[in-house]
Symmetry: C3
Subunit: 174 residues, 3 copies
């Protein structure tokens, strides 16, 4: 029976693009994408966005570095296939379960960084640390981003729906 | 009883080296190593290859970035000791077991990216995402790669034997 | 009952700062921090140290790359909150348990890299590989390090108390 389950794969979110800095002597630049994630474990596909930044940069030879400024997210490069994404979600739930005790969420003993709107997100911090990709660097050759046939650039939301940013820095080596 | 088990440590594979780009104004360059892995969980040691690229680059001060364009591999820097490598293999098998269900491998429901020669590699995609190293950057100081006494640069095959590439980009900071 | 447990959060260790190289043509430079960790799973907070290096570098637009030359450590960017740090310690102990068998520690069969002062640290090598952050790159914009509100730069000791180094390379893009 094909397609007997609803399929939730990666999404391409709407984003605002902000140019933060441009080099005076070469084509290096740094930009930020601003966007709103929609749910826990959302795989946000920014491949097209980064390809467009590389094309516009006019860099022939160099690199792109992605950086997330958040503590409950991950940058993952993998295949945009719904089954894989569900496999990842299931596995991270088994490795760092939602129904475990997290001291980060225990306001009877916590004393640091408490916010009015604090999420129950102890699992999200630990998941982010285990997955462990805060930055990734990819080469640019002959004005093209080096990215494998099946690779897509995912910003993965490990917390709930939130306003997020992704920094993209292009480096001109010529 | 010493050596009562056969030891399978890291391997140095044969590779073809392709120079892809060289900067016009400095010693930065980007190369690709092409090679064939031989089995799942093979630790392919490219330390000597990268040291040779750094030596040939004539870069006095800069960095090297390694990048894998694949979705079922990992870059790991660790010790070249057979026991550690076996420990890693055992642990990744326990954390992301081969005998679990992977939706990526379920052709009754899968609809995306299906290939004639598709491997059963759902576990490999998830393992790659959990280990999570698509790129690594190491400094070059006084024309030498900064690499710890026990560190070796491993390209780790998390799928079966396949044709693979590793990108190596040198960056000249002088 | 608030504060009924003793709290062990991140520590700012004393360190020696060594400047290794400075570019002749721009403000790029590479430095090393030398320090002694104090116990397993210590989260060593070097945020202030890196902020000071960026400020002193005079770089307006560029990046900072952190690199650990060790095989039993990890670089983690996350929140400096004691509960989260304890949650991470508990989870890594469950995922890669201390009381499992590690072939790396089995001197009846081990034949490679044996040292007089070798630690029993098989678990530490595997934990380092799973957490998997040997290098991280952060952008610099308008002379300021881009680091999220809750992000802190941790060098995490996954072995016992040891002498350690952290490399910090600033890259000037202007």
């Amino acid at each position: 029976m094909k397609n007997n389950k609803q399929r939730f794969g990666a999404q391409e979110l709407k984003y605002d693009l902000v140019e933060l800095f441009k080099s005076e002597s070469n084509n290096s630049s740094t930009l930020a994408l601003h966007f709103d994630t929609e749910e826990i474990n959302q795989f946000c596909d920014f491949t097209k966005a980064v390809l467009a930044i590389v094309a516009k940069s006019k860099i022939k030879h160099g690199s792109v570095t992605l950086f997330t400024p958040h503590t409950t997210t991950a940058l993952i490069i993998n295949e945009s296939e719904t089954g894989y994404i569900n496999d990842f979600k299931n596995r991270i739930e088994q490795l760092v379960p939602s129904d475990s005790y997290y001291e980060h969420d225990d306001w009877d003993i916590r004393t640091e960084n408490m916010q009015e709107d604090e999420n129950v997100n102890g699992r999200s911090h630990v998941r982010s640390s285990i997955v462990g990709s805060t930055s990734i660097t990819l080469p640019i050759i002959n004005s093209e981003l080096i990215i494998g046939r099946w690779q897509r650039l995912f910003f993965v939301e490990l917390d709930c729906a939130r306003s997020r940013r992704l920094f993209v820095q292009t480096l001109d080596l010529n």
